[in-house]
């Protein structure tokens, strides 16, 4: 007998199963009928996930350099301007003829990086309920260069508030532009 045959015989002689194939199959078949149990997530996994989420929210609140500014509805903007102006020294009123020109000196300063917003000129007619009478977009680069804006006053007599605001990118930085003036358009002289 060769070694191969002897190994085979030795292994067969010592591994004679006398169990029941039918009984074993019955157990397997009954297990196959059952649906596999869904794996339960360990309790610590849920706790860890919650902890990470809370940590992330806290870190975002602490480190976020530009928290989003609340968006005020358009109608509230005049109220915002009024409130702002009461906190500052009174702005001198300039009397101009209807359709005459007004020089608006602009304040320009560096602002933290953010999204540029094209500068705009707004002319509000003052009264019990301020009304926006003119709104136009301006050339930001020109405003940065010149620092002043020549505005044509409305032709209708009345009190007006001229406001320029926006932010303009330049030389890799962002500049905020702001200017404000009150004008009084007089009745035309006959």
């Amino acid at each position: 007998m060769t070694l191969d045959e002897r190994i085979k015989q030795a292994l067969r002689k010592n591994s004679q199963w006398e169990g029941s194939a039918e009984a074993l199959w019955a157990q397997i078949a009954s297990q196959l009928e059952e649906k596999p149990k869904p794996k339960r997530q360990p309790l610590w996994l849920g706790t860890a996930a919650a902890a990470v989420l809370v940590m992330a929210l806290v870190l975002q609140a602490v480190w976020s350099p530009h928290p989003p500014e609340p968006q005020l509805p358009q109608a509230d903007k005049s109220a915002e301007l009024r409130l702002f102006s009461t906190a500052l020294p009174p702005i001198p009123r300039e009397a101009v003829p209807g359709g005459g020109t007004v020089e608006l000196v602009l304040e320009v300063h560096l602002t933290p990086a953010g999204t540029p917003s094209p500068p705009q000129l707004e002319i509000w007619q003052e009264g019990t309920e301020p009304a926006l009478v003119i709104q136009e977009e301006l050339d930001g680069a020109q405003l940065l260069r010149e620092g002043v804006l020549i505005v044509q006053a409305p032709s209708e007599p009345g009190s007006y508030r001229l406001v320029v605001h926006g932010s303009v990118p330049g030389e890799g930085q962002l500049y905020a532009i702001y200017g404000e003036k009150l004008v009084e358009v007089a009745e035309p002289e006959n």
Partner: protein, 187 residues
């Protein structure tokens, strides 16, 4: 009705229990022997084989039909058997192979000398470490080719060849020593 293994697998994939049962009967003998030789305990070998069949049938939908079933399934059996064996080791349950196997009724006509010689060889096989014993079991119990052993154990073919060669050499030496320095080449 006789079906090819591939056809049976196709049917079993569709959940046909009759096909699964035929696959079970085709592979049971080899699987239970292998599990027993790994765990050295019949009860745990049965548990391991049962778990292996259940896992294999549940995993059939992901099994590629063009791959051979036996090495894939045998790998599952080995894993289950190893796991139950390590549980036995932890619980310090006795190995049945330590004593006379109660099921050993093979070759009743063989001479006492021959039976003793086979028992000595079996003892020598059990003294091999797992990395040499497992390829040997797959070759002689499951009757795998070397390529199938390589696939089942996920080893390079050259490694399987080398381990089989080393295992046989160790058995020869061990037998020669047990037989009191008899023939150096027990062919």
């Amino acid at each position: 009705m006789e079906y090819s293994e591939q056809e049976l697998i196709r049917r079993a994939k569709q959940g046909e229990h009759a096909a699964m049962e035929q696959i079970f009967r085709m592979h049971l003998d080899s699987a239970i022997r292998l599990a027993y030789l790994v765990t050295r305990n019949w009860a745990t070998a049965e548990d391991a084989v049962q778990e292996a069949f259940v896992q294999a049938f549940r995993s059939l939908p992901g099994f590629q039909a063009n791959r051979p079933f036996k090495p894939w399934f045998t790998r599952i059996v080995i894993n289950k058997a190893k796991r139950t064996k390590s549980r036995l080791d932890r619980e310090h349950l006795p190995y049945e192979l330590e004593e006379e196997n109660p099921h050993a009724s093979f070759n009743p006509e063989g001479s006492a000398l021959e039976r003793e010689s086979l028992d000595q060889l079996f003892a020598a096989i059990n003294e091999l470490d797992d990395k040499h014993r497992l390829p040997l079991l797959l070759k002689y119990v499951s009757e795998f080719t070397e390529a199938e052993i390589a696939e089942a154990l996920r080893l390079p073919l050259s490694t399987v060849k080398s381990r089989l060669y080393t295992a046989r050499q160790r058995l020869k030496r061990n037998l020669a020593a047990r037989e009191g320095g008899g023939s150096d080449d027990p062919r």
